[in-house]
């Protein structure tokens, strides 16, 4: 967990504060369809000349709001701008997400499942103060749960996907 937080910290501050070039910052409200849930949350990002870096904090809608079980997700993504005109920017995107949910509260941390997603895809973002964004991603999802048969946590890899749309404001 500490490694993930350190990674996110470095990711966030590696571009804007120390960069020589001007970076635009923006805040997006986004909705994501993932394999395990629908997620909603905020994304904070900055755009440099060649890349768009984003940090997200979200929560699973079904688990959190319909099942009263908090399902947080944090992540980071990096988009390389390969196409830019007056109205749109587009390019490939690389994304990492970590999410965690407690399935069974009666057994403490053994009832918790953690998910690490590594995905690649394509991202589109409109330009302007108010903008829309949309990403389509696919990749690996690593599910980590306690295995009662082997009495240890085990990780299983599977295919994951993510469809994102968001609306935001550029500062």
């Amino acid at each position: 967990m500490r490694i993930i937080l350190a990674f996110l910290f470095l990711f966030l501050f590696s571009h804007k504060p120390f960069s020589q070039k001007k970076a635009d910052t923006f805040l997006t409200y986004r909705l994501t369809l993932g394999k395990k849930d629908f997620f909603t949350g905020l994304a904070f990002g900055c755009k440099t000349e060649k890349t768009v870096e984003v940090l997200t904090v979200e929560t699973g809608i079904i688990r959190s709001f319909f099942q009263a079980r908090f399902f947080p997700r944090v992540g980071a993504s990096s988009m390389w701008i390969v196409s830019e005109n007056q109205r749109l920017i587009a390019g490939p995107i690389f994304q990492y997400h970590f999410s965690t949910v407690q399935f069974n509260v009666s057994v403490g941390k053994n009832g918790r499942a953690n998910y690490n997603d590594l995905m690649v895809g394509w991202s589109l973002k409109t330009k302007g103060k108010m903008y829309f964004t949309s990403d389509v991603l696919a990749g690996f999802q690593m599910e980590n749960c306690f295995n009662v048969l082997e009495l240890r946590r085990k990780t299983i890899g599977t295919l994951g996907y993510s469809f994102v749309c968001g609306v935001g404001y550029e500062f």
């Binding site: 688990r63 009263a68 399935f103 053994n110 009832g111 306690f146 048969l149």
Partner: protein
């Protein structure tokens, strides 16, 4: 009252409001076809060995329900559909193929799991859990009835009739198979198409251990009545959080869920 105090009280209220009493402790949770039938969020294909192991490894899962079909050589295989081509890399029916042919079958899924034979399931994994064997009595490809005694012989040989470390329930929707399985020492549950049919079978067959009914077909009054008669009631077609909650609120003996994660969250 200071702003700080208001915030503390509000936070306490929100935290305690989120703690729901869940009176479902006695209801058992079983994975339908292991980790759920046609569950898009499932890691492994239904009825595969990998899915069975995953379901049994989860904290709070009380067992699995598996679809059992018999091959031409009398071996039993775990597969839900009639035709193999819908889910695997070959065509035909299990009842038309033998073990050698079936051992080469793989699902057309991300992990490409092998088609599982019941003999491959290590019964040690079932310790203190339950297994439901949903038997296919009708060979749809050949339009013929399978022999009940072939099934009994094979399941007994594999140790499912008199296992002491786990519970075996045989599910059937065919009247003529109830008595032979009961006489062979199996717990038999009737897989009913409606509450009316379940009611009738409970009246007709004293030896039934219980009934398995669809969530949408059964009311809590039916469940109470059958449990009062000493029968177990298992509810299936339970997938969404709302559906799971509806099933749990009928207080059956157990639910056969298509989403183990959601079911565990709703129970605990």
């Amino acid at each position: 009252m200071s702003f700080k105090r208001i915030v503390i009280w509000l936070a306490l209220f929100i935290l305690t409001a989120c703690q729901r009493d869940k009176p479902f402790g006695q209801i058992k949770i079983f994975g339908h076809a292991a980790t759920g039938l046609e569950n898009p969020s499932s890691v492994y294909h239904d009825n595969s060995l990998e899915a069975i192991k995953l379901a049994l490894s989860l904290e709070g899962c009380d067992g699995v329900e598996l679809d059992v079909q018999m091959a031409t050589d009398g071996s039993v295989w775990l597969y839900h559909d009639t035709e193999l081509y819908s889910q695997t890399n070959i065509s035909g029916c299990i009842s038309q193929l033998d073990s050698i042919q079936l051992s080469k079958v793989r699902y057309s899924s991300f992990h490409q799991e092998k088609l599982a034979a019941l003999v491959q399931l290590d019964t040690v994994l079932l310790k203190n859990k339950s297994i439901f064997l949903d038997l296919r009595h009708w060979n749809e490809c050949a339009n013929s009835m399978l022999n009940v005694y072939d099934f009994i012989e094979e399941l007994s040989r594999l140790g499912y009739s008199n296992a002491s470390s786990f519970q075996t329930y045989v599910l059937t929707s065919f009247d003529q198979w109830i008595e032979p399985f009961f006489n062979a020492g199996f717990n038999v549950c009737f897989s009913a198409a409606s509450a009316v049919e379940a009611n009738q079978k409970i009246k007709d067959f004293e030896m039934l251990d219980g009934v398995v009914v669809r969530n949408m077909d059964v009311q809590s009054a039916n469940v109470d009545e059958w449990i009062e008669k000493g029968k177990k009631v298992y509810i299936y077609e339970v997938r969404s959080p709302k559906g799971i909650r509806r099933a749990l609120n009928k207080f059956p003996s157990g639910i056969l869920t298509d989403d183990l994660g959601n079911a565990l969250i709703e129970k605990y």
